[in-house]
Symmetry: C2
Subunit: 314 residues, 2 copies
Amino acid sequence: MTSNDQAALIAVDWGTSRLRAMLLSAGGAVLAEAGSDDGIGKVAAGTHEAAFERLVAEWPAVPAIMAGMIGSRQGWREAPYVACPATPAAIAAGILRFETAKGRPVAIVPGVMVRSPDRDGDVIRGEETQMVGLLERPGGYRGLAILPGTHSKWATIGEGAIADFQTFLTGELFHLLAHQSFLRHSVTGEDGDLATSPDFALGVRRMVVEGLPFLAAVFSVRARYLLDDVDLHANRAYLSGIVIGGEIAAARSAGRLQDGTAIGIVGARSLARAYHRAFEVAGFATGTLDGGEMVLAGLVSLARGIGFLPGESR
Amino acid sequence: MTSNDQAALIAVDWGTSRLRAMLLSAGGAVLAEAGSDDGIGKVAAGTHEAAFERLVAEWPAVPAIMAGMIGSRQGWREAPYVACPATPAAIAAGILRFETAKGRPVAIVPGVMVRSPDRDGDVIRGEETQMVGLLERPGGYRGLAILPGTHSKWATIGEGAIADFQTFLTGELFHLLAHQSFLRHSVTGEDGDLATSPDFALGVRRMVVEGLPFLAAVFSVRARYLLDDVDLHANRAYLSGIVIGGEIAAARSAGRLQDGTAIGIVGARSLARAYHRAFEVAGFATGTLDGGEMVLAGLVSLARGIGFLPGESR
């Protein structure tokens, strides 16, 4: 590991449940990492500075740049949303800057919003930094970037900007249905490797090929259990297929999925695999992009844009 | 009130959260009513008989006929599902009969199922008795019967039978989204009179006119709160419109809603009003049918069918 003498910046990903920090050199290399469960869902108003300083107490007093829910109304300070189409320069221009009590410069990355007379408004906060990382890759990026999760985000990336995006409630609905609804008696509580189950593919097909409406499809999970004695693990895989397939069908009907569009899935391995398989059933090829790498690249690029690191963002 | 000397039957509606009993004369008139919160969700296996006898301890030892979740695997005894198309006679033939320890004859009405190679299986348990009540009305019934609630049921009634039906998870999803999901911060916790709000109609329109996909539409509830500072009560009305409108759009896309079909809504007053308004926005006229009356009529008809009451079912 390189010495902390070279430290130039702390890059922070501060979400609802986790606080993660990386100590970086001027060239953007990671010198050290730290994390805690002081997510903004847990940290009381007025105590964000203390929570952050506690985590990085051993590190040099370099500037910090932060992305995620830390910039929301419930965070440290609110960084208002930047409108789409949003270039990395526009996002950098929207960064909120201030100093801590000890004089450490802090920068909070804004979220990005869609406001259009043609459709409902939409917001992201945190994922915009991954998309900046994507845009700043050598050769850039053009196509769909899908960030699956609690609130799955489909972004159209092109012309050096986040052109547009849409949020689907996939992960949260799956969790509510599998654990809080009456369907919890019809599926196992364990995830295991759902995407390799033939029942996962069946659930996806029901949605993307047969076009089952979501509100009706979910009840079939119960009927399969009652009438066909389907195994609880297979039925959880089926529910997962219904929900992820439902997202793909919904995005297609919203005009987001055209033949020939590049589809990049940005996310944790097991979820990326499930989406890859679901798209395969739907007849689309996908690539996978590492979410952690994209956050780091985005934070480094934005830090350069505001002079927190030497060099210009590409 | 007529004297209990005329008592001939106890008609019981025994669901997940409530146990309701009516003491009837041979002619089907209600002599007395009783209820408790000994729903099957609360009553332990092996104690159903005791719970029932406790409720009707003061009444004569006449036979009892029961409909609802009491006939499920988690109930007193399981009455297997009868397949669609299901006539009242077929449902009566599927009734499970036994005697209690004290020799009281008990009849449990079976649920009804759809099993078809063309679509997913589906089940109802309890609502079939309301539909028997509907079928046995003077002049019968032909058209759609919609029983809104936790699990909303759309039944096609005709040729003297429940021809087919489909379940939508509307009420349960609304409750999960409004109270358990991250949307709970974007809507009030109180129902009030949602259906008269212009935001209810807006939510319905989004789904049935603009055709928004459900998984995307629900996120707009959050965006309206964050970007447009929409009032929490108006936003709950909007969410209700999204979910009920989503049900209507889903049923239409499943081919259940054709021009000229009679649409009868069977249910509690406030919910029936909300559905009436939603159908109005969607361009359909509806009638309202009293759910309690239908249960009683259905139980009386089925009791006649098995000789628990004199006279033949129509």
